[in-house]
Symmetry: D2
Subunit: 340 residues, 4 copies
């Protein structure tokens, strides 16, 4: 039963912001899009108009002053996240924040402290946890279908690299891209990582190297419970978005593969083939975006701990920074406490 | 651009009606659910309330009198379809009608004549045409990926039989269930069927036989363009909803398989296995239901021939009746003109 | 333990004959290739030399006179089978005969009578029964993994048609090609067919039609135990040899797919693809050829009924002739007794 | 044409020795099994009898004295390999030696020096290079189907651990088991490894740890050409022998999967499943054992470099020792020259 509806304000009406706006307006019956803020007022207004939000502003602080807004979804530029989350918490708003909270541990910790003090709910946007493939893989562990887990292997390759300008301010591949996989690793295994070894190279585009980043990496994780994890990352995959996981244990293995637009397989004179997998993260993960936001709304309305906490966001960042250091220094790096 | 929105009235707020109501209210930006009619007023009101329709009535004729209603979606009991479609057309409403228009050719023809005279748009609810698997299979033909088509094989098995009371008034498996496959066959091959041979048996449940129907059938189609088609039907499949197609021609083959909730494959001590395919037609065909209704709305707003016409509905019925006769008389039955 | 070895003479050193020679000489420890007969003496000698047979003749009757030869493998031209089998049986030799015994029921029956009178073992070369895929499908039935069987669907397509000269004397597609599938149907279902309906066309090559044959056919089988079978045949498949089966019953379904040279799947900018399946029947069915001959040798040495009897050969011919008639007369044809 | 036949002596008639004996006697037309040596004379005699070798001895030196023996296949205990290879080379015999030549680099080098001095052919038994899956993966690289290679991932898991007594003298998992994968990595990538990082644990059986070994490992390889490789090893897999590879590059990906006894897939009330993959290395790799030995015979008879040289054997050992050290010291280990 839809007892009551949560009024949600959107901060940042870019690509991912508009996606959340659409879901809040149309796909999540318990939510209502109450306002949109964007530094470009025209963007805020266009988004508000398309998804029937009654209010559009250019300064998010005016949105936070609106008593009708009970919760906010933060989709602004990464370097504004920590300030906005802190302000929203101080204003007593519940917060859904796209990853990461911040690229530094210091500001992340300060932000989390503010959230804690305010007592509001904070959920981080690691949407992949809500994907049907990964949920089924996780269930295979919790249902003991694969016994004691020994190995985790994550493949996470983007179709093509982001613009060089983006890469320059991204914080580096390990905290920008692999961070999703660190969260996935923690989600799937349900334990903390103690040590990280990463090796990385520039293979896709030398301009990425010039910008100070890498584009191809392997990260080895040693979990506290003995599991050995590996993450295979690339900024480019000719065949599209490649998102898979394999978990192996004493009782067997669960492996997921990519998602496709259709199941059609064509056999002709040359080969037996099918069309490429879903290529774009918004298409691949549509359902998980809806599910994460729906979970946030439920959590605010019904109470309880959000499925992805601020501490989860912090733990993934810790691993990203450790991997970065490991790759730079070519040695295993201990993770003091990824969840403290 | 969403220039303007089509106001749609729903007639029949049962299971499939509520599905269409949800899509009209939330998933199709160019549509608005304007009213709901159901012989059980409480059902109409509950549906109208859940999907924010401003009007709920028990008599569909009052809905037809509403000038705000521009088009209707007919989801009432099958034996009321022809009357309602005729009334709606006479009232100048465009009509989306769930299959079949009627179980008899006579009333079907009379209804189509009324629609034609009124000049309104009529679309029949053969939603499977909009499914991504079948669209890709059709595209493999139109893109010449399989050359000249020689063979079509459709597998269409339900998870479990409907209640015996339903079967008694269903018109029989060939016009109730196989009718979807006849339409699929015509859609995929893009040609008319000249001759039908069907063989059928009661294998699933002897009560179905007692009710005068069959539950297992094979139908052979000879198309005007030489293609030989086969349809494999069962009212029951232990592993769930089984919906596949294989098209074979001079250049190769396209084959579709079932859809699954996730791609996870588990290997354990006993087998390499995955969970069962999507089991329920509403889950399996959600996207195709949205797409067919969206196409209807576009067609009414923008003009043009609907993707599934009343004549398509008639042609599938003609094949169903021919198959029924063939199975009964155990001989091939010529189809005089399935699209005349 | 290899107690003793069976001395086998080969009659007909063509393509399939040389394959059997190789298996007898090298792959079946309990067999020894004792002699080779071929109307072309040079062929007999070349084969004998390659596979170390001590004797090569041009007249099979001289091979039958050789007391060292205990059993013969008949791989000569189809129209010589019945005479050679009769002569071999009269000479007290056990016989493995490639399908068919003869294209007419009369001569088949006469030959079987001779074999019966002589009391020798006769096995027919329906090698596909020994293929791992079909054996597993059969086991799914006998192990009750699919419950009571309701449906059988066989796909059997050749990579390309035989020469027109071959087609002219082949007896027609139903007795030349489909005969393998009739045997497979009887093997898998373990019951007899009561009625056959076949529809056939010339789609691949009009020259086949000019030669009086068809190249594309669908055959519907009604088994005594209620199972409905369908056989999908084509003389040509762009992607190669297509040999599959699907069995569906109250408990589920077993389906086999084609065999491949390797499991490698390549994902590139255009598609996710793999190489074509094994294209040539000798490559696809190597193991089944070895297994059938090994079973024959065991049967002669150890006693017992051969796994494919002369009556099995006859039953498949009966179905082929019935299908031929059904296609010609466009009506279902009763099969009086396919195994009498 | 089989111009002439190579007379081969087998040294060591254990499990793998008998497999080679069978292939030499029956599957490789250009070879003849001329003699068998085994420290247990009864084993030598049984093997010679079964595969029709004219000579059986208990002291391999007597076999080396036999002028009829042109080449030897060394399948004795690992710690005897280097001495036997050296003796065979000194006696002018060509040598096929099961991996490894020796567990130490010193003795390996000494043995290779002796082989070099004698000028005989030496091939090492890395049979997996001849497997159809891996050959196809290699071809995808050489045919530029995957572009410039960036990543290699090898999964290599045994069905169950060997006996503890075996493990004690095996040299450790990296040189006993992973050595196959090091060779596979070099074969597939066609470049040398510069640095190795390995992490290993005892997960399967604590007795393996007590015996001083590990049973679960991940090895990261940095190749000279920039490729990053990962090897995933386990001594135990509940579902059987797991042997796969994935190669990823600028143009796409090639991935192989496991081999199965049949293609049958069963859908029932619980799942869609197939039987476990081929479980035993002799069954999984039968064809590759034949192909490697056939290549050895061709190489001796026709001249040329063997497809797997002594230097290949040495290079894999170097990587095994480096991985061992890396795992022990928890740091990346440079490989000075894996092919010097």
């Amino acid at each position: 039963m839809i007892d009551r509806v949560l009024n949600v304000g959107l901060i940042g009406a870019g690509r991912i912001g508009r996606l959340h706006a659409q879901h809040l307006a149309r796909r999540i019956p318990r939510a209502r899009l109450a306002a949109v803020a964007d530094v470009v007022l025209a963007s805020a207004m266009a988004c508000a108009s398309e998804y029937s939000a009654p209010n559009a502003v250019d300064d998010y602080r005016r949105l936070l002053e609106d008593p009708a807004v009970e919760a906010v979804v933060v989709c602004s530029a990464t370097d504004t996240h920590s300030q906005i989350v802190a302000d929203a918490a101080a204003a007593g708003k519940h917060v859904f924040c796209e990853k990461p909270i911040d690229l530094t541990l210091e500001r992340t910790d300060a932000t989390l402290a503010g959230v804690h003090q305010a007592g509001v709910t904070l959920q981080i946007g690691f949407n992949r946890r809500f994907d049907a493939n990964y949920r089924r893989a996780r269930a295979a562990i919790t249902n003991a279908e694969v016994g004691t887990v020994w190995r985790l292997h994550i493949v996470s390759r983007d179709p093509s690299p982001p613009p060089i300008e983006y890469i320059r301010t991204s914080g580096g591949m390990f905290v920008d891209m692999t961070i999703h996989d660190f969260d996935m690793a923690r989600f799937l295994i349900g334990a903390e990582v103690e040590e990280v070894f990463a090796t990385a190279r520039v293979m896709v585009d030398s301009a990425i190297g010039t910008a100070g980043d890498v584009d191809t990496a392997v990260t080895v994780l040693r979990f506290a419970n003995g599991v050995i994890g590996t993450i295979d990352n690339s900024r480019s995959a000719a065949y599209g978005y490649d998102q898979r996981v394999e978990i192996f244990g004493s009782g067997g293995m669960v492996a997921t593969s990519n998602n496709y637009e259709s199941t059609a397989v064509i056999s002709d004179r040359d080969s037996v083939h099918r069309d490429l997998p879903l290529n774009f993260f918004m298409q691949r993960y549509t359902d998980s975006y809806i599910a994460e936001m729906s979970a946030f709304v439920d959590c605010v309305l019904d109470g309880g701990t959000p499925p992805v906490t601020g501490e989860d966001g912090r733990a993934a960042l810790v691993l990203g920074l450790a991997a970065q250091r490991s790759a730079r220094e070519n040695r295993p790096v201990r993770v003091l406490s990824s969840n403290a």
